[in-house]
């Protein structure tokens, strides 16, 4: 940001050596702090791989296609990520499908529809959703929301059961601990990030575009559709990717909400089971032997890679920095 000034301000020659010394130390410290963050990401990948590798080698099932996750017998590890991936993807995509339209709507509301003086307080209100700890959302999801969603799920299952997403799941709908419920809880949790990123780009819509649309006699909605939405498209996509990243990695709310199942899942919203994150968290208390633990760390590595790619894509799409 600062225009690079000459690093050596006019100073008496005698003091120059000492002054430069302090400057070099300070600059090195700052650079080292920056490099630490780069190193942290590299170390995360490295250490997860180091710990996971022996287990992957000892794995007797196919890591990518097996639905088993049996680590009780350290000599005969059988684990695969297919089921975890399925539940993770299904719940995250459902969350995204709910949260993106609503998030974009809120962002439009905050930037172009709400009364000008209320825009900031309203935005704070939506941001407060992000301040609620995820375990509290989990509590709400499992103890309060799930029972209320039970009739909705039964209805969908009865009427649309022929469609694979609404077919009978591997857990009972009673109680509501299904991917359906988890998806809704996740949608609430990723709403603030999608809203804030979209709001940022909608605010940047050039005033000249808006005025041009108005001069042509566009209604407010036509103005939004012709100028704000096309202009903000990359930002909305970036925000959605960030939301997806959050949903993929959310641990505790999913762990608390989803009912576990011994049976493999089959792409139904009324399945139960584990996501990558909730599987790891559920097994965490039994991390004692290195080989079984490595199986979970392998799953963690896949989750890390997944969120890395999604987040990197978000930056690429936005063409630079997005906050949130």
């Amino acid at each position: 940001m600062s225009s690079e000034p000459s690093t050596e301000p006019a100073s008496p020659k005698a003091k120059k050596g000492h002054r430069q010394g302090a400057e070099v130390v300070f600059r090195s410290l700052a650079t080292a702090a920056g490099a630490t963050i780069v190193a942290a990401i590299a170390l995360i990948a490295l250490f997860l791989l180091i710990r996971a590798w022996p287990s992957i080698m000892a794995n007797e099932a196919n890591f990518f296609t097996s639905t088993e996750f049996s680590t009780t017998n350290a000599d005969h590890l059988r684990f695969g990520i297919r089921d975890l991936l399925m539940v993770t993807v299904l719940s995250s995509i459902m969350a995204l499908l709910i949260a993106v339209p609503i998030g974009v709507g809120i962002a439009l509301f905050l930037t172009h529809y709400s009364p000008k003086t209320m825009a900031r307080p309203f935005a704070t209100l939506v941001d407060l959703l992000a301040a609620v700890p995820s375990i509290v959302f989990g509590l709400w999801g499992v103890l309060v929301l799930a029972p209320r969603l039970e009739p909705v799920q039964t209805f969908l299952n009865d009427k649309l059961g022929w469609f694979f997403l609404f077919s009978d799941g591997n857990v009972s709908i009673a109680g509501g601990g299904t991917i359906f419920t988890a998806g809704i809880v996740l949608a609430v949790m990723i709403l603030p990030i999608i809203t804030s990123v979209s709001r940022e780009v909608f605010n940047l819509t050039p005033v000249t575009h808006i005025e041009a649309a108005q001069a042509l006699g566009a209604t407010k909605w036509e103005m939004v559709r012709m100028t704000v939405l096309p202009y903000g498209r990359s930002g909305v996509i970036a925000g959605s990717m960030l939301g997806l990243g959050r949903a993929l990695g959310e641990t505790i709310a999913v762990l608390v909400v989803l009912r576990t199942s011994a049976q493999a899942g089959h792409w139904s919203l009324f399945d139960g089971g584990y996501t990558f994150a909730s599987k790891i968290a559920a097994a965490a208390s039994e991390f004692s032997q290195p080989l079984p633990t490595g199986a979970y760390i392998a799953a963690g590595f896949v989750l890390f890679a997944l969120t890395f790619v999604v987040n990197a894509l978000a930056r690429l799409v936005s063409g630079g920095r997005v906050n949130g």
Partner: protein, 301 residues
């Protein structure tokens, strides 16, 4: 009035006509939907907050809640308090802040004041990636490094280390934003007086940005306080106070909630909602502090 004289008619068709009905209806529908979206977002927020306050109030209202631990309290017994968990939550996040804040501020100073070229670009990118790393992955990394490789025991400090990873990107970003807001004229005036760059940063730039930085740090602290994944992986639950950071189990509010959620007794439910309300109160306190710091310190200028 079909036979009006030509004088009554306008000479030419009006330039502006009313918006056609179809377009007007579409516009109204869109407006309605957009207002509705906002309303929909407020439903879960209000619902969750009202729920937690109403269900947790009774537990929080007793003095014991704030002064006692769960030591010696059976799962089906009411009573005791969450002092031990509050202590754990505050200590774990405070230790994380002690590590993450200086590191984050220096990294932000690097990015704003010194960073040029590839390393700066890579660092910016990695800060964004770190912000997207799921808390369970951060916890697993600390497990792989600190516990599995270095052989340290499960401890509150391990949790703090994981929280550092989660705090860092938030601190870097908020500090970066604030440093960028410092006008270049201030820096130039300082250089013109012959002050070295590092001293300019420490004495002029950082103090100017300080209120915003402090409130950013408080918000980062609030964010990691509710993290549950690291405590599940890196430390065990304890019913009594443990002052040893480096060894042994230590409770925290999220861990206590998770623990008591498995307790089917009514007493467990009381503690679950009470702890949830306590956690939200703590976080609200930090949010309020952040707002106050921002207001007070900016007004003095």
């Amino acid at each position: 009035m079909t036979t009006t004289t030509t004088l009554d008619k306008p000479v030419k068709a009006p330039t502006f006509r009313d918006v056609s009905t179809g377009r007007r209806i579409k516009n109204n529908i869109a407006t309605g939907i957009i207002w509705l979206c906002f309303a929909i977002a407020l439903i879960p927020l209000a619902w969750v907050l009202i729920l937690v306050v109403s269900k947790g109030f009774d537990a929080v209202a007793s003095l014991d809640w704030w002064q006692k631990s769960q030591k010696g309290i059976l799962p089906d017994q009411t009573g005791g308090g969450v002092y031990h968990a509050i202590y754990g939550t505050i200590v774990q996040s405070a230790v994380a802040a002690v590590i993450a804040v200086p590191l984050g501020i220096m990294a932000a100073i690097y990015l704003v004041e010194y960073g040029r070229g590839t390393l700066a670009k890579v660092t910016t990118f990695m800060v964004d990636i770190l912000a997207g790393v799921p808390s369970i992955v951060a916890a697993l990394f600390i497990f792989a490094l600190w516990i599995a490789t270095l052989g340290a025991p499960q401890s509150a400090f391990a949790v703090s280390l994981a929280l550092v990873l989660l705090m860092l990107p938030v601190v870097v970003r908020s500090t970066e934003e604030m440093l960028k807001l410092v006008p270049d004229e201030l820096r130039e005036a300082s250089y013109a007086l012959g002050i070295p760059k590092w001293k300019t940063i420490v004495r002029i730039v950082v103090p100017t940005a300080l209120p915003g930085m402090i409130s950013g740090i408080l918000l980062a602290l609030a964010r990691v306080m509710g993290e549950t994944a690291p405590v599940l992986v890196l430390v065990g639950y304890s019913k009594s106070i443990n002052t040893n950071l480096f060894d042994g189990n230590m409770a925290s509010l999220p861990l206590l909630i998770y623990q008591e959620l498995a307790n089917p007794e009514p007493a467990g439910r009381v503690r679950v909602w009470g702890a949830a309300l306590t956690l939200i109160l703590l976080i609200a306190l930090l949010y309020a502090a952040a707002a106050v710091v921002n207001k007070l310190l900016t007004r003095n200028r």
